[in-house]
Symmetry: C2
Subunit: 127 residues, 2 copies
């Protein structure tokens, strides 16, 4: 199990960001208002960090360790903005078994240029 | 600024969980399949941790520190499951100014019984 990796890739669309704003109630104009975003440090609209990070949850739940995974902890460091239309790959790697059936897992998201946009780790119990 | 608090409350519905599964690609049957969930340790379907946690992002972006907040870090400890129909309150509290305009913020989500379902902290740059 240790050293195993899995990943998932998704393009983050404008529609995704709008739906996520509705679900999360996070209506920061940096995600939704082109004019506001143009005047920001980013220069254009960016995706919600939690929307991007949720791809980590998808890899863990769907692939590694897979169904039956129970989330105990997630730490995310947001390193770079994700713009609408960016193709994000979330990758996880099993780092160690902290105690029986509880794993520390490296988690990172990269964009289409290979730049890390989120890194961090998760602690998962494999049920 | 230090010691200031803000919160937001939302009922997590079955429709929310289904939409979040589509957006995040996290199709763990513990969120979507009643029969599967009944046989799990939880006994019924639970919400995605990232969906619940995204309410923290909403409080930060909409209220405190508010628009212009830039996420640098989020740590989440998942303490208890959130069931469909649970009313979740996400609360943030400004703990300290780590460096100019960069704040460490306590973040927690509680359910309608007052039980903590997620705790942790965020680091936010106020642009």
């Amino acid at each position: 199990m240790i050293g195993k990796k899995a990943s998932i890739t998704k393009v983050i669309s404008e529609a995704d960001v709008e739906k996520f704003a509705e679900l999360s109630l996070d209506i920061n104009p940096i995600h939704l208002d082109e004019e506001y975003a143009e005047k920001s440090v980013f220069g254009k609209k960016i995706a919600h960090g939690f929307l991007v990070g949720s791809l980590i949850s998808a890899v863990i739940a769907n692939k590694l360790p897979g169904y039956g995974s129970i989330y105990l902890k997630q730490e995310m460091n947001f390193k770079r903005p994700v713009f609408l239309g960016d193709e994000i790959t979330a990758e996880v790697e099993i780092l160690e078994e902290i105690k029986p059936s509880v794993f520390r897992i490296g988690t990172k998201c990269t964009n289409q240029s290979g730049d890390i946009v989120i890194d961090g780790f998760a602690v998962i119990k494999k049920g």
